[in-house]
Symmetry: C2
Subunit: 356 residues, 2 copies
């Protein structure tokens, strides 16, 4: 009900909810045709939901993975601390294997893992600590999106047309969204902004999810195919670009949905500001850019449209990288909940790290 009959932009669309002993999520694969809500108490079911992209978007998969571990904390019949810890850690390991590129997944699981590895006097105490940590991650995601939105919305002007890619909205987070959160906040503050959404093949998150979210909120949106980005920029139809991120690596590489790099190159040529909305949990100070694994997904995602029918010969070879890398020099600024990361990004990212 809360999903289908939203009456205002302020009523919050939640893509994931904690029900005490189950997790409830919107199956984003069914959007916009059907608003299917799934409930499960089984962490393996959540792992599969992440792998199949029922739950997707870097912040959302981090939260979902943490909640999957919390389900074990609530439901496991383990009687000894040792047994419970081992079951919890096995679930952490299982969740880590779901998708390799987004860093929020590891960040969330590391937080839960470090709680699991603490000292406890009873299984009950451990159970409660794990659930508490997972719920903190959940609630922080909502807070962080609101904070980013507040900071980022100052970058948008009345009359702007903002191009966004993929879906960095409520359906990629617990609620509100990163890139779409910024656009929503500008809209709610009375700025008349418009959006151009790229359809984002192969999984069409732009056409399916971003359009659906924005139309629900009454924010004007036009849909384009991915290869129209150069055209709309050359016609002066885009004032700003805002995208999300799956991982940010100093000195400022942005790993995000395939197609982001192409948009950044075009924005640079046309002097259109290119903003990335990313919570600090997306910043990976540990890895090197050359070590990042770009997930190569099932070739049938490209050969078909959403498994409905083949658009090409079924035996053609394909490439299907899920992400690409935008270098620091193409990024105007990164919007985080702690403030703007501006050029030179490297120094700004290091300052941010020291900030509480």
């Amino acid at each position: 009900m809360w999903l289908t009959n939203r009456s205002s932009v302020l009523e919050m669309l939640k893509s994931i909810e904690w029900l005490g002993d189950r997790v409830r999520w919107i199956n984003t694969l069914k959007i916009p045709w059907e608003e299917e809500v799934v409930e499960s108490g089984d962490p393996e079911r959540i792992a599969q939901a992440i792998e199949r992209m029922e739950i997707r978007g870097a912040p959302a998969i981090g939260v979902a993975a943490a909640l999957a571990v919390a389900l074990v904390a609530v439901r496991s019949s383990a009687e000894s601390l040792e047994e419970l810890k081992s079951k919890l850690l096995a679930t952490v390991e299982r969740m880590k294997r779901t998708r390799p590129t987004a860093v929020n997944l590891y960040w969330a699981l590391r937080r839960v893992e470090s709680v699991i590895k603490g000292e406890y006097v009873s299984t009950r105490e451990l159970r409660e600590a794990v659930v508490r940590e997972a719920l903190s991650i959940y609630e922080e995601d909502i807070y962080v999106n609101r904070k980013m939105a507040e900071i980022g919305s100052k970058l948008l002007d009345d009359g702007d047309t903002v191009l966004t890619h993929c879906n960095a909205g409520a359906l990629a987070t617990v609620a509100y969204g990163t890139a779409l959160g910024v656009i929503r906040a500008a809209w709610e503050s009375g700025k008349r902004v418009k959006v151009i959404a790229t359809e984002t093949r192969p999984m069409l998150q732009g056409a399916r999810l971003t359009v659906w979210e924005l139309m629900k909120d009454g924010i004007p949106v036009k849909l384009i195919t991915d290869n129209m980005v150069g055209y709309v920029m050359s016609r002066g139809l885009v004032s700003k670009v805002i995208v999300g991120a799956d991982r940010v690596i100093p000195p400022g590489y942005v790993v995000n949905k395939i197609g982001t790099y192409t948009i950044a190159v075009l924005a640079n040529r046309h002097r259109v500001p290119f903003y990335v909305a990313a919570p600090t949990s997306t910043i990976d100070y540990e890895s090197k850019i050359e070590d990042i694994v770009i997930e190569e997904r099932n070739p049938d995602e490209v050969r078909t449209v959403l498994s409905k029918f083949y658009v090409t010969l079924p035996n053609v070879e394909v490439l299907n990288p899920a992400f690409d890398i935008t270098p620091p020099e193409l990024v105007t600024a990164i919007i985080t909940e702690k403030g703007l990361v501006t050029q030179p990004l490297e120094e700004s990212l290091l300052r941010l790290r020291k900030q509480p």
Copy 2:
């Protein structure tokens, strides 16, 4: 039969054929699922085939339009020269309205029109002159593609991976193709070239037609979505780009399938040579770039995939420009049947114009 059982790359795939009182064509909308051959003696049916994109590709629509006029020449019951001329000219006008951007259509129709407007002693003489002109246009297209291929193939080296967009192949011409003609000729001469084909939303000519043509010929091809171009270039996977053109305007603007400009910008950034294969009939010395009408097609092409199902909300606004414009500075060279047009393109195009 000739279509489905091709035994060698040298056996020529013809997308359009003249049958004396009918025209036969491959319905490219059905490729790769079905190899449907359509025959009709009705010029209006051919006009619709062009509008619906059963017949598509700048050279192919020019030839098909000329053959549609030839059908009137063969089949009209007109008894006076005046009546016959008027019927022929009405068909010329009808064909001109099919699609606005590709210049080969107007070029072919102007040739036929000028023949119609000549002096004749009998309707028979006029009928024969029109058919002869249409068949010349038809045969020249095959010759011109072969010649471009011969010239362009020298630009390709053994081991090259060539990125191409949309379909500038046999299915965009009478036979052999422009961009794919160049690749075919390199392959036939023994160079081991590979192709990366962009799927080319919304109509998916790359996924459907280019992949189909290349796999029939045994030329290695990998399919990508349009938003992967930046990724493959950043990974050094592309040695050269070759695309076709719908219109070339001095000083060297290239009007071609939507997405071409984006690819050209990326090629420029990654220092990948960007070649355009275009017969001289594609060069428009008369128009100014600011006067070019970019065809805006039915929004449902973007909202759906090939009319099979909606990938978004059916009432979302969309942009659907069929073409974009690549400026001269991004074009390494244009391959024509009269030779290479090299930088500075403007001078080179003017020299070409004076050449017989």
